[in-house]
């Protein structure tokens, strides 16, 4: 890209192509400060607060993955709970074989990425609505298969071993850090992926699939890559879930509620921007914490808000912020800058 940028700049003189409208160093630095402050939380806040934040990390990771699927690759998966469940079960299986659940976490995430390959093969020919329900059926099938193994708890699940004798304060802190690391890696990974070639292909497909295919974009490969990455991310979130709950129960980890939460958080925050899921997760956590004594109401309200946003404010809350303040914390597109003013290029 740098060659093209130089050539264009050389040709026109007073234009240049940049990735952002403001200096990305500031937002990068800001993000780093936020992460460092968050990393110190176990030393300064109560363990109840870190437990709530772990929930937030799980939802944020899931929402970012769903955003990558639906917002960038146009794959509306309603079966991502398959990977949440598999991630949790991979941790359980490794823990039963004597591994530390924390050491099992990355293995579980990779395992989910591998599991995504055959699952993709099954559903890849379907589009839009049929893809959505087919992934849902797949998740149900994966759960039914897992439930057949009585050695990992069958239909009722079992507690996660491997923490006996561990200081509970330390365990809470480790769980929190694991959640934080997974979330940071997920966000950074998605950001880098979208800035690279994959982001370019996905943008081309979003604008015109036929044109993208005919100009040589390997669309199928790009979608496969997105599905695998989302599998890894959702699996890692599932692994964190297993560690934070200290038990794995099939109906809980394979619940459609996970997909509902990740989808609603993404839509409310803003589909197709990296910032959207972050804002959406904050909204989700606030609603969930304030309404937690009213059972399912938070999910009803979240669903209604998501429907309203999808109909009337399609770019979500972040879209509203972006319209007014003209900022992009994680720029993945290209912008053409001139002497007079800024304007979008893509």
């Amino acid at each position: 890209m740098s060659l093209a940028t130089q050539t264009e700049a050389g040709l026109t003189g007073n234009f240049r192509v940049t990735r952002s409208r403001r200096n990305v160093v500031w937002t990068g630095g800001g993000a780093l400060i936020v992460v460092v402050v968050l990393a110190f939380f176990p030393y300064i806040v109560y363990s109840g607060t870190t437990a709530i934040l772990v929930q937030g990390f799980i939802v944020l990771t899931l929402a970012s993955m769903w955003n990558l699927l639906a917002g960038y690759a146009g794959l509306v998966s309603v079966g991502q709970q398959a990977f949440v469940g598999l991630g949790a079960y991979f941790v359980l299986i490794l823990a039963l074989h004597g591994f530390s659940p924390f050491a099992a976490l990355p293995v579980a995430a990779i395992g989910c990425g591998v599991a995504a390959l055959p699952l993709w093969w099954l559903v890849s020919r379907l589009r839009s609505g049929y893809f959505a329900i087919a992934t849902w059926v797949l998740a149900a099938t994966v759960m039914l298969i897992i439930e057949k193994f009585t050695s990992i708890g069958g239909g009722s699940g079992m507690p996660l071993p491997g923490f006996t004798g561990m200081n509970p304060t330390l365990l809470t802190a480790y769980t929190y850090w694991a959640g934080l690391i997974v979330t940071v890696l997920a966000l950074a990974g998605i950001y880098l992926l979208l800035r690279g070639r994959l982001g370019l292909v996905l943008t081309a497909v979003r604008d015109d699939e036929v044109a993208a295919r005919s100009s040589g974009s390997r669309v199928g490969l790009a979608r496969l890559l997105v599905f695998v990455v989302a599998g890894i991310g959702c699996g890692a979130a599932g692994a964190v879930l297993a560690i934070s709950q200290l038990q794995v129960q099939p109906s809980a980890v394979f619940s459609i509620q996970w997909t509902a939460e990740m989808a609603f958080a993404t839509i409310i925050g803003g589909l197709g921007t990296i910032e959207g899921p972050i804002i959406g997760t904050v909204v989700y956590m606030v609603l969930q914490q304030t309404l937690q004594s009213y059972n399912a109401w938070y999910l009803i309200i979240l669903g209604l808000v998501a429907m309203a946003v999808a109909l009337f404010a399609r770019r979500g809350l972040w879209g509203l912020i972006d319209e007014r303040l003209n900022i992009r914390l994680f720029p993945v597109g290209y912008w053409l800058r001139s002497g007079q003013g800024d304007g979008p290029d893509s």
Binding site: V78, L122, T141, L144, K148, R314
Partner: protein, 291 residues
């Protein structure tokens, strides 16, 4: 004989699954809408039927006369408002809105009517009664009735779509809604009519399942929607009789699975679904290629 019985029971439950599936298939065929709230709407119909029976004390089957028109009107209204405005904004919005609707309905039912499961007309001889063929095969009156209703609904739909004035309009709009609009058909109204018809079948499916088994807030997704979808894919898109075949194949697979191991009923059905998806993605009967 146990196997023959399993196959017969499977064929009969296939009628129930075809009843679930035809509304989903019709909505997709005409509006290109995949309604993720399909099953939850069937559960709503079942709950309305329970309410109607409890309040008015009408005989159980008479509740159909009330619930089907109510759901048809709901279908028309939902199509003209929520579904149409999401259709105007694209496929992604339609999926998000119907998925949102599904989650809202399911949790709303959970909130207002608890997680308890309810049946419809559990004390009727129609629901509990059966007759025997030989010593091993026992056929429930209810399943036979549901199968007959499913066949009647499919015949009725076929007649409606191929012969009636609205059927012709629906087919015209499904083929090319702009051209139909130019020829004077208001496609939004026609979409509403099609949704009304689809919701009528959804109501029948919900009531039938309430009588055959029990309804609870999660039945809509983990049973009705997924079975309906599996039946549609197995049978083939765009074919009404394909949904019956798909339902029967799914039902037989489940019953044979249950025969092998009682806990394998659902899994066997889904595995057959996945095999068809891989080997014959256009379905067993197909008129058009998979979209």
């Amino acid at each position: 004989m146990a196997w023959v019985n399993a196959i017969i029971q499977g064929i009969l439950t296939g009628g129930l699954y075809a009843l679930f599936a035809c509304g989903l298939s019709l909505m997709f065929g005409v509006m290109k809408v995949v309604n993720l709230a399909h099953g939850d709407l069937a559960v709503i119909a079942g709950y309305i039927a329970i309410g109607v029976i409890t309040v008015t004390h009408v005989p159980v089957l008479w509740s159909v006369v009330i619930v089907v028109p109510v759901m048809a009107v709901l279908g028309y209204v939902l199509q003209r408002t929520l579904i149409q405005s999401s259709l105007d904004r694209g496929v992604l919005t339609t999926l998000i809105v119907t998925f949102g609707l599904s989650v809202v309905i399911e949790n709303g039912l959970l909130q207002f009517f608890t997680a308890n499961s309810r049946g419809i007309g559990a004390e009727m001889t129609l629901v509990t009664g059966s007759f025997k063929i030989g010593s091993q095969i026992e056929i429930a009156y209810l399943l036979l009735l549901i199968f007959a209703v499913a066949v009647a609904v499919l015949l009725g739909l076929q007649y409606f779509l191929s012969r009636s004035k609205y059927g012709r309009l629906i087919r015209a709009v499904a083929d090319d809604k702009e051209a139909a609009q130019l020829a004077g058909a208001d496609y939004r109204h026609v979409f509403g009519i099609a949704a009304g018809v689809a919701f009528g079948t959804v109501a029948l499916g919900g009531i039938a399942f309430g009588m055959y088994s029990n309804l609870d807030p999660t039945t809509g997704t983990d049973t009705i929607l997924l079975f309906a979808f599996a039946a549609v894919v197995i049978g083939g898109l765009g074919s009404l009789w394909g949904t019956l075949l798909g339902g029967v194949v799914l039902g037989v697979a489940q019953q044979i699975g249950a025969q092998i191991n009682i806990s394998d009923e659902l899994l066997a059905g889904y595995i057959v679904f996945l095999v068809v998806l891989v080997l014959r993605p256009q379905g067993l009967i197909s008129r058009r290629a998979q979209p």
